[in-house]
Amino acid sequence: MASTGDNGGGASGDGGEDLSTEPLRPRPVRFISPAALNLSRVYEQNRQRIQKKDGPKVPDPTTPQTKGKPRLLLMGQRRSGKSSISSVVFHKLPASETLFLESTARIQKDSLNSFMEFQVWDFPGQIDIFENPAYSFDMDAIFGEIGALIWVIDAQDDYLEAVARLNVTILHVQRSYPHINIEVFIHKVDGLSDDYKLDIQRDVTIRIQDELSDQGIENAPVNFHLTSIYNHSIFEAFSKVIQKLIPRLGQLEAMLTNLCRTCRFEKAYLFDVNTKIYIATDSTPEDMASYEICSDYVDVIIDFTEVYGSWPRTQQWRDRLEGEPWAQPLEDQVACEWAESGMVLADAQRPIMLREVDRFLALVAIMKEGSYEKMPQINMNVDVVVKGLTEFFEITKPRGGVVTGGQGEGVVSPGVPPAP
């Protein structure tokens, strides 16, 4: 024992570097070379030393870059549509192609680079993280971050078991991590009649609330959404979920409301371009129809940009355009460096406009009839708001920057006091 300890001490540097290549879990091995045995022993010692220094948790070597970002956890029964949702919303997979998705075998972690950096964790449905001791999940690593737990229920299936499991989950999460929002997606409701949808929603709500109040939990942050990947409802539901995670949302909304009032817009949305999730809108009542047309508008713009804007032009082309009649660099010939678009509907001449705010965000607004002629003025107003939005995100960003920039170990979870 003593001799191995000496060896371990001598080779600890090597062992530390080999962490990633070493098998982390003991598994049935027919033959282990003495050297390998030694290495694993060294690793074990090393690990224990780190644990002692760092508290009860092992820093997960696979996800150092995902620390400190809001996290969306997708959970639910198997085949309830979790992976389909994340593919459709975050990877722009056409809904019809989700038929070919394989079932998820382990936790699928996606990092989403957008105006805020999100993580989306897609859990396999067959594993119950609370009941199965074989998978000893590190609860703090999962629920430690601020975020939302999205529970997906297949409305076209018998959902009693799903509701029961959801209840168990809510109880666990509520006790230890009350800051997590719980969002229930009653999913696959396309094809169901409106009455039936509402019936299901009512039934699920009652079952969960009864159970919670039996356990003495009142006013738990549980929200319900009716969703389907075959229409916009899934995006709208995600929008609501994400809006709750945005710091100072009220400020954003006030800016948009102001813009709507000055320019006589019917409705304005601030979209995350990649996911078509809207992160803020003005204060007028929301309606699905205007969200749909605005989000499709974003889609059209993305498609056009891909086809005509994603390949480099030749120098020759540029030289000609900057040549004599114009004699200006191309950048000076345009009014706005970001994407700018306008569209007029045939009925009542109602225009819709879109303006890119930065790489991730776009402002889309539905205008009133007759305002197309006043586009120059509107553009000026929009410019001001866009400037304000940019500042807003400048201000809110550094806070995130500090967290992500900090020493990975110091900010594992809010429970750990930050290292001085």
Partner: protein, 432 residues
């Protein structure tokens, strides 16, 4: 302007010949000369013929096609395309009883004067052998009656094949179909040779045979010359699905060759493109948003997206659906009149209503001044493309009545005439 007059002039005589069909009794030879575009849509029952027709021409959404029932017998529709081109679309119900009927009793009626045959294969079909056997029969009938016809084979429902296997499955199926087509042609030629040997003996009996069975009567009505040795069917194959843009690609090629005055459109588009310094111009038909014609600058040719034309059709058409949902107006109605997009210093583009029946998409280099002048120039170019809207409008604008006006008014009547003439063969049509 001289261009314009010549085109409307050429539209007139075409109208006159149309009128003569509808008017008096015509001989078979006269019928053949006529370029009334008869488009046959065939394939096994349930393969998706009516679905694709509804999507392309009736603005159905892909998921709405579930509502469609089986087509009974032949569903005739006259699709007005670009105002002056009427597609005589024969959507032939694919159930076996109907198929047999087309091949026997109605053989001459269905397969003569065909401009285009669109044959749809269902990739999911269980009984491929049988599908191909039917296909061979159809092709031989077609070669017999209208050997000039173009054939488009659509391998449909490709969305049911996993994406990584699509290419492979399609290539296999193409090889199979080409082989079968060659077989079909060979069969017809053999049949013809043996028939022509015994033709002198049969000459007297032909009248009787014609009444007994439609299958042999063709020898009397069609040309007597056997198919030439090197007869090759003008055939194109496409992998399609109603769930993506592949359908638009196939139909744009089908339509492309049928559009009248295509050369004129192309030269005028090119001169417009050069004048406004564009990178690409696409001309869409108003309701179907199929690409009628396109022009691309040398720079635009570097665009790596070879499928961009059908993509644009797809994008704009689904955009039109979105608008109709928002405004609550019918799908076939016009939905947007103007769409402009300036992508910083990368490119600018706009889509705008052009002539009555067309939309134009212009993609061009960035620059505010360039963009605004291009929009004005496109508006100014409108009169030069008026002929796209068909003889009635063209005749009124340029020729001012005269010869063009009369026949131009009733192209539809002429179509109906030829259709009723077909009815004499003893076939019940659903009304058009």
């Amino acid at each position: 302007m001289s261009d314009l007059e010549t085109t409307t002039g050429s539209g007139g005589p075409a109208g006159v010949t149309d009128g003569s069909i509808g008017g008096g009794p015509t001989t078979q030879t006269q019928l053949k000369k006529v370029k009334k575009q008869k488009v046959l849509l065939m394939g096994k029952s349930g393969s998706g013929k009516s679905s694709m027709r509804s999507i392309i021409f009736s603005n159905y959404l892909a998921r709405d096609t579930r509502r469609l029932g089986a087509t009974i017998d032949i569903d005739l529709s006259h699709v007005k395309f670009l105002g002056n081109l009427t597609l005589n679309l024969w959507d032939c119900g694919g159930q076996e009883a109907f198929m047999e009927n087309y091949l026997s009793q109605q053989r001459a009626h269905v397969f003569s004067n065909v401009g285009v045959l669109i044959y749809v294969f269902d990739i999911e079909s269980r009984d491929v052998e049988r599908d191909l056997a039917t296909y061979v029969n159809i092709i031989s009938a077609l070669v017999q009656y209208s050997r000039e016809a173009q054939v488009f084979v659509l391998i449909h429902k490709m969305d049911l094949i996993p994406p990584q296997m699509r290419e492979e499955v399609f290539v296999q199926r193409v090889a199979l179909v080409r082989k079968k087509t060659a077989e079909a042609v060979a069969i017809v030629r053999k049949g013809f040779l043996s028939q022509s040997q015994s033709q002198s003996q049969q000459q007297s009996q032909q009248q009787q045979q014609q009444q007994q069975s439609g299958q042999i009567s063709p020898t009397a009505t069609t040309t007597s010359a056997p198919p030439p040795e090197d007869l090759e069917i003008d055939m194109q194959l496409f992998a399609t699905s109603i769930w993506d843009q592949s359908l638009y690609k196939a139909w744009a090629s089908i339509i492309h060759d049928l559009v009248p005055n295509l050369a004129v459109i192309e030269t005028q588009l090119a001169s417009l493109g050069v004048a406004i310094d564009a990178d690409e111009i696409l001309l869409f038909e108003r309701t179907s948003f199929l690409v009628v014609s396109k022009w691309t600058s040398r720079e635009g040719d570097n665009n790596p997206y070879g499928d961009r034309f059908e993509r644009m059709s797809n994008i704009l058409k689904s955009w039109k659906h979105t608008c109709s949902k928002f405004t609550g107006t019918p799908r076939n109605a016009e939905q947007f009149s103007e769409f402009e997009y300036k992508m910083g210093s990368q490119f600018s583009m706009f889509v705008t209503k052009f002539t009555t029946n067309t939309y134009i998409l212009v993609c061009m280099p960035p620059g505010e001044a360039r963009f605004n002048s291009a929009k004005l120039n496109v508006a100014a170019a409108r009169p030069w493309f008026k002929f796209l809207d068909g003889p009635p409008a063209g005749a009124a604008a340029a020729a001012g009545g005269g010869g063009g006006g009369g026949p131009g008014q009733n192209p539809y009547g002429a179509v109906a005439g030829s259709y009723y003439q077909g009815g004499e063969h003893g076939m019940g049509h659903p009304d058009s």
